[in-house]
């Protein structure tokens, strides 16, 4: 039977547990590269975060594209350009040096002067008619501080939620997977020095939400299968492995349906139609969504399994099975009906003969 056929029938038996170690090592390597590039190169924060310079000149009938073309030789084609109301405004990031000199009221820095000259030439105005000033960040520290506080609360509450609903080992696994995904995506931004803009931050948050959701779906399956522990001498690892195989096709399909639109944004939107602003944003999402699915199977699951094997207390397992068998006994006592296996989604009861 072909691989696809087996996948289609959910008959895959991927030896996840064996793959955890080699894939985990690869993951670790990528993580190290990401974190170190984050440490060494840092993020290329956009105008919205760090501020920069702003130029204003009275001009009408000038298109944003013309301005962009004029600024391209100066290497700032990604400047924020606004026209309308008879005024042309250009805002762009500046180097620390240029910004400091601008703050002190000097406009002698080469790049600042060059932009002023380019705009003067384009608009036909005298350089003195162009007002140059610093541009403050629109995404102020106030917003960042609040967002960071909110994220801390978010992680605490979600950890509690997973601990109550599932297990604490799973809470650790899920949060580790989320951290893994975010660090790798953010790390790529540092590595390639893509500009981080507010939409990028939203992309990071989207990835975080998706990663968490995906992990919870996988863990839910694992928990549904935990009852197998009491009925047989299966190890926890093999139970998890079985659950992962059961959700494997779901993970693949969800990844595909999530990735197709993003690929379309990347290829159609940014490639063919030339909306460059979409490119890096879509790239971040694409990588994040793939890693988000991957990490549920290869980061969250092994973490939870290893923790459980290490700290999982055997007593609670036997208690669990004890309670289960008690429940079964009680039920059989209370009713004359045949004892049913306690609700088990993985192995439903044999069906009735098909009616013809």
């Amino acid at each position: 039977m072909s691989l696809f056929g087996r996948m289609y029938r959910n008959e895959t038996s991927v030896p996840f547990a064996k793959l955890w170690k080699p894939i985990g090592l690869c993951s670790l390597l990528v993580l190290i590269i990401s974190v170190s590039s984050l440490g060494v190169r840092g993020l290329n924060l956009g105008l919205e975060f760090e501020g920069g310079g702003a130029w204003e000149v009275e001009a009408s009938g000038i298109e944003a594209e013309q301005v962009r073309d004029a600024l391209r030789p100066l290497g700032i084609a990604d400047a924020r350009i606004q026209t309308g109301g008879g005024v042309l405004r250009v805002r762009t990031e500046l180097s620390k040096v240029a910004q400091t000199s601008l703050e002190q009221g000097e406009s002698g820095d080469p790049i600042v002067a060059q932009v002023t000259a380019a705009l003067a030439e384009l608009t036909g105005q005298d350089e003195s008619a162009i007002s140059v000033s610093t541009a403050g960040p629109s995404w102020g520290e106030e917003i960042t501080d609040k967002a960071i506080n909110a994220l801390i609360v978010f992680f605490i509450v979600i950890a509690l939620y997973i601990t109550i609903r599932l297990r604490w080992e799973m809470a650790v696994g899920a949060l580790l997977a989320v951290a893994h995904d975010i660090l790798i995506t953010v790390g790529l931004y540092a590595l390639f020095q893509f500009e981080v803009t507010p939409p990028t931050v939203i992309a990071f948050l989207t990835i975080m939400g998706y990663s968490l959701y995906d992990t919870l779906v996988v863990f839910d399956k694992v928990r549904d299968n935990e009852h197998m522990l009491s009925n047989s001498n299966l190890t926890y690892t093999s139970v998890v492995e079985k659950a992962l195989n059961q959700v494997f096709m779901r993970s693949v399909n969800t990844s595909i349906t999530s990735i197709l639109p993003v690929v379309s944004v990347l290829v159609v939107g940014s490639g063919i139609m030339g909306a460059v602003t979409l490119r890096e944003f879509a790239l971040a999402l694409l990588i994040g969504l793939i890693i988000g699915t991957f990490s549920s199977l290869f980061v969250a699951a092994p973490t939870a399994t290893i923790l459980r094997n290490k700290f999982g207390d055997a007593d609670s397992d036997s208690n669990r099975s004890y309670r289960l068998s008690e429940a079964v006994k009680k039920r059989s006592k209370n009713s004359q009906a045949a004892v049913k296996v306690p609700s088990n989604p993985a192995i439903p009861p044999r069906p009735r003969k098909k009616r013809k």
């Binding site: 029938r9 959910n10 606004q82 026209t83 309308g84 109301g85 008879g86 405004r89 000033s133 610093t134 541009a135 403050g136 960040p137 102020g140 106030e142 917003i143 609040k146 909110a150 994220l151 978010f154 509450v157 979600i158 997973i162 507010p198 939409p199 931050v201 939203i202 948050l205 989207t206 939400g209 968490l212 959701y213 919870l216 779906v217 839910d220 549904d224 779901r250 349906t257 999530s258 197709l260 639109p261 993003v262 690929v263 379309s264 944004v265 290829v267 159609v268 939107g269 139609m273 909306a275 602003t277 979409l278 944003f281 999402l285 969504l289 989604p345 439903p348 069906p351 009735r352 098909k354």
Partner: protein
């Protein structure tokens, strides 16, 4: 049996269709953000004679930015762009198409003033002799609403003098004392113009109804205290039946003491405040004119009640909280001030929007192809379910655009595109469960019933986690993070709604069809083992 399925299915379709119809009928549409559509811009420059400089000026500017952000972005999803450029503050508002509206929203020169109400006047100025004529003609009920006062000892000017009367030259006094003219004369006076709105002089402002049409005018005394005395304010839904505004004053002589002096005057209805009403005025607009019914207040136990609906209560609280900026800015309508207001173009524009929409449609088509190729009829059901949740999302977004100036930026458009794929996950979880059940020997019909609760449980708990996360982010953040939280929360709820109320009955209906039961390839499901044996 079939009825049990068709009924909920029909209800959801009617509800969604109805909502969509209402939304279209009401002319709601999704507002596009600054990057896609542009908007209006207000530039504020501090007045030249400001006493602040250096770090103090810096701090005051930052504080102003924060206050303006709160003022223009009450719900936190409008995504205005507020920046400092040197000493100027540039506020860009998405979707605002006229300059006057932009000024209203930014409320740039706003100073909050508490003034006693000296008299209530009819909406239109009437000259006394004219009013009397009308009265005798029976056309009008005369000088309605003017309250008796004890100002008779003041020199009374003739009606002809009232028009030329200058309020600016009034003698000293507190509140309504010693206005320099009889309240009757105010009947014939025009409303005070913005230029003459001085804290130290009495003024006449109209009271507007919910449509913005004046129905009364109030003669207001001198300002007794300003927003500077306030610490904060909140709106609350008290006792489950009425909206109230709860201001908290600063302690001490510059705070609650000033307020209590005014409250005492109004409670006793003495010459400083004969009507017992204390008006809250922001920028020449009467926000509220509540009657004072206690002479003394604790600074944090003041309740302003009245005919507030939720919007008005929240707006008033916002005004009280953020009323005055720590800095005086030039008037944007004055060309010599350096401040100004104008319309601005989009930063990205139509091309980017077109690219985003095309990419979204292509992506949607690819996803539909994949789902239908893989899950056949079930895939089709999934796409229909997506259409249902998509329609609901559109209705909600356009409603929020209309009422709360939510604006969709290019990032928002891409976010919507991403949610196409992720919201199909609940369908995939369900279908994979169905397949597994059938492989394990169930018939299609019983598998449909059996699988849904189990799959829905998974989806429910996972979405609940997203929802909790979205709630936390929404309440604790500002700016675009808040916008993101709103979208995440909406997507999670709509996913659950569409799955439960649409996908479940549709798949159930499919499971009942003999034609589908006999042709497993139609449903994209495996052949059950039961049949093979």
């Amino acid at each position: 049996m079939k009825k049990q399925v068709l009924l909920p299915l029909l209800s959801i379709l009617i509800v969604v269709g109805g909502l969509f119809g209402w939304s279209q009928g009401a002319g709601n549409s999704v507002l596009l953000g600054l990057d896609l559509k542009g908007g209006a811009e207000v530039v504020l420059e501090p007045v030249e004679d400001t006493e602040l400089s250096g770090d103090a000026l810096d701090e005051a500017l930052d504080k102003s930015v924060e206050i303006i952000r709160n003022r223009v972005d009450g719900l936190g999803v409008a995504e205005p762009d507020i920046t400092r450029q040197g000493n100027r503050i540039v506020v860009q508002l998405p979707g605002v198409e006229d300059q006057r509206r932009a000024l209203e929203v930014v409320g740039q020169t706003a100073e909050l003033r508490f003034r006693p109400v000296c008299a209530i006047l009819p909406a239109v100025p009437i000259k006394l002799d004219q009013a009397n004529n009308q009265n005798s003609d029976g056309v009008n009920d005369g000088p309605v609403g003017i309250l008796p006062t004890d100002q008779d000892e003041l020199p009374v000017e003739g009606p002809e003098g009232s028009e030329s009367h200058s309020m600016a030259s009034t003698p000293d006094g507190i509140g309504c004392e010693n206005l320099g003219f009889a309240p009757e004369d105010a009947l014939g006076m025009e409303n005070t113009e913005a230029d003459n709105d001085e804290a130290e002089n009495p003024v006449i402002f109209p009271l507007l109804d919910s449509e913005g049409i004046p129905y009364q005018r109030l003669l207001l005394g001198r300002t007794m205290l300003t927003g500077a005395s306030l610490e904060t304010a909140d709106a609350s839904f008290a006792g489950g039946f009425e909206w109230q505004v709860l201001p908290v004053f600063r302690s001490g002589a510059d705070g609650i003491d000033l307020f209590n002096a005014a409250a005492n005057a109004c409670y006793n209805r003495n010459s400083k405040c004969q009507t017992g009403q204390l008006a809250i005025v922001l920028d020449g607009v009467i926000e509220s004119a509540p009657t004072v019914n206690t002479p003394f207040f604790e600074r944090d136990q003041i309740v302003i009640s009245g005919n507030f609906d939720q919007n008005r209560a929240e707006d008033t609280a916002l005004v009280l909280k953020y009323g005055s900026l720590p800095l005086e800015f030039g008037d944007p309508t004055d060309p010599t001030s350096g401040s100004r207001v104008r319309l601005v173009s989009a930063t990205l524009g139509q091309d980017s929007l077109d690219a985003g929409i095309t990419a979204g449609l292509v992506g949607l088509a690819l996803v539909a192809l994949y789902m239908i190729a893989y899950y056949k009829l079930l895939g089709l059901a999934a796409m229909l379910s997506l259409a249902v949740s998509g329609t609901m999302l559109w209705v909600i977004l356009s409603w929020l655009s209309e009422t709360r100036s939510l604006a969709l930026t290019l990032a928002g458009v891409v976010g919507l595109i991403v949610s196409i794929g992720t919201s199909l996950d609940s369908n995939v979880v369900y279908f994979e469960h169905l397949k597994e059940d059938i492989r394990n020997g169930r018939t299609l019909r019983s598998a449909v019933d059996q699988s849904f609760p189990i799959a829905f449980k998974t989806i429910f708990w996972a979405n609940l986690a997203s929802l909790i996360g979205a709630g936390i982010l929404y309440f604790l953040t500002v700016g675009s993070v808040r916008g993101f939280a709103l979208m995440l929360g909406l997507a999670s709820i709509l996913d659950l709604v569409a799955t439960y109320f649409f996908l479940r009955p549709v798949v159930k209906l499919m499971g009942m069809q003999k034609a589908i039961q006999d042709r497993p390839w139609l449903s994209g499901l495996p052949i059950s083992n039961g049949e093979e044996s």
